[in-house]
């Protein structure tokens, strides 16, 4: 595979860009693989990449019904942070954060991971207690973070209204400096390119229509392009997990909800960090192109329509205006929605199933994008070894029957 660099770019420019190679192959599916990964989103591609790179499993297929990275990878607001409350989730997200920090170089693909910091605002006394609790936990888990008071928040984001005049004044915030944003599409493409280079077959426009299960063991998958065999199948299909689980006769504690976002028209840089507020419901950052990206709340009903209800957008907009009254004349360009798989405790499921060889990685709710590298690595280990990685073990599906839930509702970007 050609290495990307400035010099390569100049070389190609001199030959009118006529010699660029395909970023990935379009292979014909083989009859059998060691591992099949259903779902060619960020998590599935990352899983394939780490399987091949870290765990020596290269006879792998990723089967994608549409185009690579076309689900939530393409629709999220790209926030990356690891300041989760509970040890189990903090460990998983921090593992991810460490991988983010060298990802562009590792993949030789600039995923534009920009550690511009994330503020989680507190507007009530209980918000501030929760923030202190979380930051203290983060610190003792080795995760960066500090608690800022209202004055410090105002210094960091001078355009935000941190006065006492607002309905819910900003009392303070948690601040994770290493957090930030990344270029979502590039993450999928970078993983895809590197996985492809290591021999992984990326099979697009191919839908898994059924699972071949015999005597409680997975033998392969039925697809719109024929049967493909594998003794290990990992399912990473955010937004459709319940549908694929249904093919195995498995019910998941997951409901798929619309989650919406919108962008402004491109503006000259004015906001250089990420601001999130659970209390007034909204979060905002500015991309390198200049768009303000705003994330809204989850709609209350199940929906696979990649769109939600208008009042959700309206309420989020009111929150943004409350925090940033100067944006009143800025204009909203476009809105869209993704499908988030929510679990009862706002934590993912990384789990074996009653079917031997069939594993699920799902239920990331609003937090999937930031977990992409960590989720991929941990799930790759799980598939390679046939049992859950230590970081994945607490996220077993069994927890919903034993009661050992890991309630992260407070840490999710939006209240469920």
């Amino acid at each position: 595979m050609e290495r990307y660099s400035v010099f390569g770019l100049i070389k190609h420019a001199l030959s009118y860009h006529e010699n660029w190679q395909k970023t990935w192959r379009s292979p014909t599916p083989k009859k059998e693989y060691d591992v099949i990964i259903i779902g060619g989103g960020g998590h599935g591609l990352a899983t394939a990449y780490y399987l091949a790179k870290n765990y020596g499993v290269t006879n792998v297929a990723v089967i994608e019904k549409g185009w690579l990275g076309g689900g939530n990878t393409a629709r999220n607001t790209t926030i990356v942070r690891s300041n989760y409350l509970w040890d189990e989730s903090a460990a998983l997200y921090e593992h991810s954060m460490k991988l983010w920090e060298g990802l562009s170089q590792d993949l030789n693909y600039n995923v534009m991971f920009s550690q511009r910091g994330v503020l989680n605002l507190g507007h009530t006394l209980q918000d501030m207690r929760d923030i202190q609790r979380r930051v203290n936990a983060n610190r003792l888990n080795g995760i960066d973070g500090e608690v800022l008071d209202a004055r410090q928040v105002a210094e960091r984001v001078p355009i935000m209204d941190c006065s006492r005049n607002t309905r819910y004044p900003v009392l303070g915030a948690s601040w994770q400096p290493r957090a930030g944003v990344a270029r979502h599409d590039a993450v999928a493409w970078g993983y895809a390119r590197s996985a492809d280079r290591l021999g992984v077959d990326l099979i697009q426009q191919t839908e898994v229509t059924g699972l071949n299960i015999h005597n409680g063991k997975i033998l392969g998958v039925h697809t719109s392009r024929g049967d493909i065999n594998a003794r290990t199948v990992g399912c990473v299909v955010a937004g459709n997990s319940g549908v694929v689980a249904g093919m195995a006769g498995i019910k998941l504690p997951i409901e798929s909800h619309p989650l919406q976002a919108f962008v402004s028209e491109p503006l000259k840089p004015i906001l250089d960090t990420v601001v999130m507020s659970n209390h007034v419901h909204g979060y905002i950052s500015q991309t390198d192109k200049g768009d303000l990206v705003v994330g809204a709340g989850i709609d209350g009903y199940n929906g696979y329509g990649q769109r939600g209800s208008y009042p959700t957008i309206e309420h989020t907009m009111q929150a943004i205006i409350e925090l940033f009254p100067i944006f009143s004349r800025v204009r909203m360009n476009r809105q869209w929605g993704g499908i988030v798989d929510t679990t009862p405790d706002a934590c993912p499921i990384l789990s074996a199933t009653p079917v031997e060889g069939l594993f699920f990685n799902c239920g990331w709710g609003t937090g999937g994008f930031k977990a992409t590298p960590g989720s991929g690595d941990v799930f790759a280990w799980t598939l390679a070894n046939g049992r859950p990685h230590a970081l994945a073990a607490p996220f077993s599906i069994d927890r919903f029957c034993t009661g050992s839930l890991i309630d992260e509702h407070g840490a999710a970007g939006v209240a469920h």
Partner: protein, 115 residues
């Protein structure tokens, strides 16, 4: 944004007046003590999550405060029917298998707003 026929108020109202409460027709085990941990966990947390026809419970929170059931397509978002607590739906997966194409009769009662 949904326009939901409240079976108690007997008219369509805007989605802002309602809350969705998740899957309809969840039965609490008759004798919880006799339920295994798995059965109890399934009652608490495991829900249908179909792509297509879904029966869900809504409450007319800002209106009559009654709970009721909605048969809705989770892809097209079409509402086929709303019906009261204790009633069963007349919509089956077969009638709605093709989403938009497979519309059922109830859907097509055209609203009338007269000047």
């Amino acid at each position: 944004m949904f326009y939901i026929h409240c079976p108690y108020c007997a008219e369509q109202r805007s989605e802002e007046e309602f809350h969705c409460m998740g899957q309809a027709h969840i039965q609490r085990p008759e004798n919880p003590e006799a339920a295994s941990d798995r059965e109890w966990g399934e009652y608490l947390f495991f829900r249908d999550n179909p792509r297509g026809l879904h029966q869900e419970m809504w409450v007319h929170a800002a209106g009559c405060r009654k709970f009721f059931n909605v048969a809705r397509n989770t892809v097209s978002y079409e509402i086929f029917e709303t019906y009261r607590m204790g009633e069963q739906t007349s919509v089956t997966a077969g009638t709605t298998a093709h989403g938009r194409e497979g519309q059922v009769e109830q859907v097509h009662k055209v609203r009338r707003v007269r000047a």
